[in-house]
């Protein structure tokens, strides 16, 4: 009995230390300790007191196997705290409290030091972008052919020949998705062409803000084309804000209005194939454009042309040939080249056990 008791006595954890959690807004302290190796150990209890107080109070329990804890409940910035830890056995017994860690104060930081790589990356990319958009002024820069964008005009032309409308779906997301903005950038020249050819363009929307923007953009395109009177506000409308009610509605438009050309450009979710297959059934020529990786396979199978991924973001430059925008494509390409180079160098170095590059891309 006595021997058992002696064996059963748990050691308190040693070398308990506490420090302010770095890169945070305050109100959190990290406690660490050396783990106790004892088969009877169940976990640890963490105790805290304000400096000056007599008694320690239990703040948390953690299971064995872990030797750190972040205390973020009830911590006030600027107050000195002391921490101690004790071991708890599976039989419910516990050790003495450890030697308390030196007093610690929590405070908020003004900069996330661990995010310096992100900030640097933004700075470099920003510099590239500004440099190339400025350098591009007044010069004709090359862009490779993008099939889907090349056929936009042809698609508009076909609708005109057949005397049928064009359907433009600007995606199912709002302006918080950059893809929607890319779509609006494509809507503008398409609407202008439609206005020139005097072909109606139907734009059903899911997002209220996008509805309003689309109306403005189409109206402006008609004005630019010199036919402001031909603009019909009721053709650019809010259909529904529910994903599948919207899909049902667009399906209805496709089978009843029989547009000769369907353009699905922007952000799409699972409804992509419902739209594209119905459009295919009605025999329309279809061009899709999205950066939603999961939906690309369905657009590729069901549409005539697909503007894939980054091509969507090259569209406004491609269609307008505005030197400033084309310059930004140059910057994007430089970004890709740098990243590919770093992936190469990083791989070689990391295989030689040097993980500098790998650390550059850490996101913790």
């Amino acid at each position: 009995m006595l021997i058992l008791l002696i064996i059963g006595l748990l050691e308190p954890p040693s070398y308990v230390r506490a420090y302010d959690r770095p890169n945070d807004g305050g109100g959190a302290i990290v406690i660490e300790w050396e783990s106790v190796s004892d088969t009877l150990l169940k976990g640890y209890e963490i105790f805290r007191r304000k400096v000056g107080e007599e008694e320690f109070r239990k703040v948390a329990y953690v299971a064995r196997g872990r030797n750190s804890f972040v205390n973020s409940i009830g911590i006030k910035d600027g107050v000195k705290y002391e921490y101690a830890v004790r071991s708890v056995g599976i039989d419910g017994s516990y050790s003495d409290l450890s030697i308390p860690a030196p007093p610690v104060v929590s405070y908020p930081q003004w900069f996330k030091k661990n995010k310096i790589n992100t900030l640097l990356a933004i700075a470099i990319y920003f510099f590239l972008l500004v440099y190339f958009t400025q350098a591009a002024k007044g010069r004709e820069l090359f862009i490779r052919r993008i099939a889907g964008l090349d056929h936009l005009e042809e698609a508009v032309g076909r609708a005109t020949e057949m005397g049928k409308p064009i359907l433009y779906v600007p995606g199912l997301s709002g302006l918080s998705d950059i893809a929607t903005i890319a779509s609006i950038n494509i809507l503008s020249p398409v609407a202008k062409k439609a206005a020139e050819y005097d072909t109606p363009i139907i734009v059903p929307n899911r997002d209220p803000i996008v509805t309003m923007v689309a109306q403005e953009v189409v109206k402006e395109a008609y004005t630019e084309a010199g036919r402001p009177d031909a603009f019909k506000r009721e053709n650019v409308f809010f259909l529904s804000d529910s994903q599948f009610a919207y899909a049902a509605g667009v399906d209805g438009i496709m089978v009843r209005e029989r547009p000769a050309t369907n353009l699905f450009i922007g952000m799409f979710y699972a409804e992509s194939l419902i739209l594209a297959e119905t459009g295919n059934m009605t025999g329309a020529i279809q061009i899709a454009g999205t950066d939603a990786v999961a939906q690309l396979p369905f657009f590729i199978t069901a549409c005539d042309y697909t503007i894939m991924g980054e091509e969507l973001y090259a569209a406004s430059a491609y269609l307008s040939r505005d030197p400033k925008l084309v310059g930004s494509i140059k910057a994007q390409d430089w970004g890709k080249a740098i990243l590919m180079g770093l992936a190469f160098i990083g791989s070689i170095l990391s295989l030689l056990n040097i993980d500098v590059v790998l650390k550059m891309f850490a996101t913790i």
Partner: protein, 215 residues
């Protein structure tokens, strides 16, 4: 006032929202919370008024002009009316409120009308994925062949039949998903990421401004 000032607002807001990401201080956290959880949502509420008006005009227009099938637009309004009645009916006092609550229960309307419609529209994909595969998966070119062969292998590997044809098939499918598939997805994502960031920067700098509509 009309042209420059909105661009200044976009620039300021963009810069502030970007910088707040790097500042852990409570002031910055509070700014983020107020913007994302309050202001941006409140601003978007006002656009709904416009959206509802647009919805209403679209259908009223059809009814007024007695366009073919205009009765369906009446049905749409009935749908709106039912939902609103069920959602706000409990605020109508007295017998009518009770009647509405009993026969236009919001949960029933949701569970037995809205949800089944949603689920059924979604399930159309089962049919469309089959017809799309049938029509498009033809070995016209090298690329198309690759697409159809991979799709078929993966499809087979997902059902017991595939595994009984060849035991290793599920492993092959897993490998395709883990390596070549992952590689292409990563490549796309990196390109898309660069494109998105460039567009965001152009918005902040005022180079990209078509979202603001006409002058």
């Amino acid at each position: 006032m009309r042209r420059t000032f909105p661009l200044v607002i976009a620039f300021t807001m963009g810069l502030l929202m970007m910088i707040q990401y790097f500042i852990p201080h409570p002031i910055s956290q509070k700014f983020y919370k107020i913007m994302v959880q309050q202001w941006l949502i409140i601003i978007s509420i006002f656009f709904y008024v416009f959206a509802w008006r647009s919805f209403g005009l679209y259908h009223i227009n059809k009814i007024k002009r007695r366009k073919e099938g205009w009765w369906a637009s009446v049905v749409a309004f009935v749908g709106v009316f039912f939902m609103l009645l069920a959602g706000f009916g409990d605020r109508i006092p007295g017998g009518i409120g009770h009647f509405i609550y009993k026969y236009f229960n919001f949960d029933d309307l949701y569970n037995y009308m809205f949800a089944p419609l949603q689920a059924t529209m979604f399930s159309l994909l089962a049919f469309f994925i089959a017809s799309a595969a049938f029509r498009a998966f033809k070995a016209r070119t090298m690329e198309a062949t690759l697409l159809l062969v991979t799709a078929t292998i993966v499809m087979l590997g997902r059902v017991p039949l595939g595994a009984s044809m060849w035991k290793g098939l599920p492993k092959v499918v897993e490998w395709i998903l883990m390596y070549p598939n992952m590689a292409a997805q990563r490549g796309i994502m990196i390109g898309v990421g660069l494109g998105m960031i460039a567009t965001s920067m152009k918005i902040i700098l005022g180079i990209e401004r078509s979202y603001l509509g006409g002058e």
